[in-house]
Each structure stands twice: as C-alpha cells, then as structure tokens.
Amino acid sequence: MISEYADEILKGSTLAIARVITWLENEDERARPCMEEIYPHTGNAYIVGITGSPGTGKSTLTDGLTWQIRQRELTVGIIAIDPSSPFTGGALLGDRIRMTRHSEDTGVFMRSMATRGFLGGLAQFTQGATKVLDASGKNVILIETVGVGQDEVDIMRVADTTCVVLVPGLGDVIQSMKAGIMEIADIYVVNKSDLPGSDQLYSEIIYRVEQDAQMKNRKWVPPVIKTVAVEGKGEGDLLDAIMAHRKYLEESGEFLVKRRERTRQETLKMIHHELFRIIRQRLDKNSRIELMVGAIMEHKISPYKIVEKVVNEWLPLSNR
C-alpha cells in the first residue's frame, strides 16, 4: 500500500503527491517509509524561493513566473504558505486565487500550506513537500513564503535561488540597509514598479548592492529586477535572472556547497525534531510535564534542574 504511493509519486500522480504531503503535515507515520523510498529520486528539481512582506505581490509574481517557466516547457511545482491563526489553528489560504489560470495545466501542481505555528516564513514540512514534488519529476519548484517581516529567513536555507520582493512606500533608505531579509536576496524584485517611489526604491537597493559588493566576499552580485506583476511585466526578466543565478551557482561550484550545507542543516533538524517528539511523548504521559510545571511555579525546583534531569534520564552522563 505504502510503496504503491511511492510508485505513484514517481509516476507523477497528483493524488499520491497531494496525499503524502498531507501525511507529512499531519506527521502521519505513513509518510516516513514513503519518503524513504522516493528519496533517491530527489535532487533534480531547481528550487526557487519567493519572499517578501504581505501584499507585495508574491502570489501574482509566482503566477507570472509559472507562466514564463511553462513557456520554456519546464514543469512547475508550487508551494504557497499562509499563516495559521494562533488562536483557532485555522487558516485562510488565499494564494491559489492568483493562480487560477494554471489550474487545468497538468504541468503545474500547486499546494497551499498553513504555517501551523511554525516561525521562519515556511511551514515545518515545506522542505518535505518540496522533496515529494521533486521526486514526482517537477523541473522547477517555487516556494512562496508567508508574508514576512524582517527576520524570517528560513527560505534561504531551502531554496537554490532566493528572490526578495519589495514594493515602494514601506520605508526610507535605512530599511534597505538593515540585516535580515535584505541580506538573503540572490535577486531583488521591485514589484509594483509603476507606483510612485519605485525609482527611489530601485536606486536605494542598487546602492546597497554596490556597498555589499565592496564589503562582502561574494562573487554573485544580486540583480534588481523591476516588475508589474498584475500586468505581467518583467516576469521574463526575472526568470532570466534566476537562470543566470543557477548558471553561476553551477559553474562556480557553489551549488554543491549550498546543497551540502542544506543537507547538513536538514539532517540536524530532523534528528532534533525526532528526539524532541519522543521525549515530548513520554513527558505527556501521566501529565508528567504538568507536575514539573507545577513544581517550577512553586519554586520547588528550577527549570534548569528539570532540563538536566530529563536529559539525564534518557541520555545518561556516562553515555555522553
């Protein structure tokens, strides 16, 4: 049954792709054996991240970019992330509404994902979902992050090329000088470039890029691309820039360095997650965690001591 799903994914079955992504999201135990089987078939897709503040036009750009990629006869997988409510756990996933023109194109698979409380701009299992799409044979995978602020930079660790989407009117030149989101761009996109202030934004980013070129030891100089996504303007230029970055990564050898680092991070994260899951399960048994919290609240024991005790229980000092 399970390997049937793996087979179906490798054949590109939409049903199987969709179902296994759900299993990943639900941490359903059926996901793991399937992921193991498809893993050897991953690593072929090129992964592009689209990130930026809410309302900057990420979905519309993703839609236009998908159109451009399809014109070049490559297939596309899209993962678009929107926030979950911290109160109800529900989510309104509205990215699909910008992408309806691809809904009957069999060369495009589009999936919305809710963050489910995961910070950093992605959902916890976005990377897993990327692998499913990769194994299914999609040539390019576009990940559209949740609308981000200044510091949600996880996308740079998942994507081969990260595009940071900016629009005029969100702040002065100091904003463009800051660390965080402004640093992670392989490509800057000035969207809504028909609006007043976009020329100024454009020159501020160019200024930053030139400074970076002086200060940082980076060979790639991020281009700044102007787009008007709702009118379909500039999206071809954006795709050209993405392809140029890909060529740069491959020719300079950075591609492998980047992917190796990603594999390292991901493996550590998976170990972390699995260990925590097991320990969490045991602590939840008999409400042990509640007893601990009570004891800490009453100052009978410190949280530091509790951590030491819990870790020692399953990883004795003599073993470390």
């Binding site: 939409t14 992504i21 639900n26 109800t88 529900g90 989510a91 996933l93 309806t100 999936r111 809710a114």
Partner: protein, 133 residues
C-alpha cells in the same frame, strides 16, 4: 501524530460575481479551526476539482447565487468521483429553490444551506460528516 485539520475548498462556480457570502464563510471556517482554500470567482467544475485534488481537501463548499446550481453542483460531484475522490464531502449554499434540494442531494451533495442558516449549523454539519483520512 499531529492534530489533523479539516481542509476545505470554498468555490464559486459559474459566472456570478458576488462572493461576499463565500468570503464570510471562508473566515468562519478558519475561525472554526479549519484550513480554508478560497479559490475565488468564476470557477469551472474542472478547476474546483483539480484544486480539491492538489490540496487533498476533505470538503468542497460551493456557493451559487445565479441559478446554475443544478448543473454545476452535480458536475463537481461527478468529477470528484472520476478522480477517485468520492469520499470528499460536498456541501452547497446560496440562493437555491427548495424544490431543487432533493435532486441535488440525490446527485451527491450532502447538504444545502440556504439564506438564514446559522453558521454553527454549517460548521457542525461539516465536522460531523467529514471523512477520515
């Protein structure tokens, strides 16, 4: 295993351009803890079913105010079956004449919610009739 979420597609088939109700319901479903994919206006049954397939939706909610429900709603159910998604719950709402409801139910729409239905009734119906995944 993490908590399972109900995933629901809210869609407006056909040409009517009024989606205030569909948008409000989308928010209500999200408030009820569901993950809601709003597909927007002017959807064909094929587009709606493809969305349900890719999103692995548990529920499809259709809204129609323009009188096209007798064609579009059953068509969605039929296409879902074709795509091996027969266990996806289909519900409808909008301006649906009472005499059309038996026919729609016979065609596989689980329930029709007309104007004035309280949102609790809709949410409860979905929660108690949704498939296991």
């Amino acid at each position: 295993m993490a908590e399972k979420k109900i995933k629901i597609i809210v869609a407006k088939p056909g040409l009517d351009g009024h989606d205030r109700g569909a948008k409000l319901l989308s928010r209500i479903f999200a408030e009820a803890g569901m993950e809601v994919v709003y597909t927007g206006l002017r959807q064909t049954p094929e587009m709606i079913v493809e969305a349900a397939l890719q999103e692995d939706a548990d529920v499809v909610g259709l809204s129609s105010l323009s009188g096209v429900h007798n064609y579009f709603f059953p068509k969605v159910v039929e296409l879902l079956k074709e795509k091996k998604l027969a266990n996806v719950l289909v519900v409808g709402g909008g301006i649906i004449p009472l005499e059309d409801i038996p026919g729609l139910k016979q065609a596989g729409i689980a329930e029709i919610f007309g104007p004035g239905t309280t949102t609790d009734v809709i949410v409860d119906f979905i929660k108690s009739n949704v498939r296991a995944k």
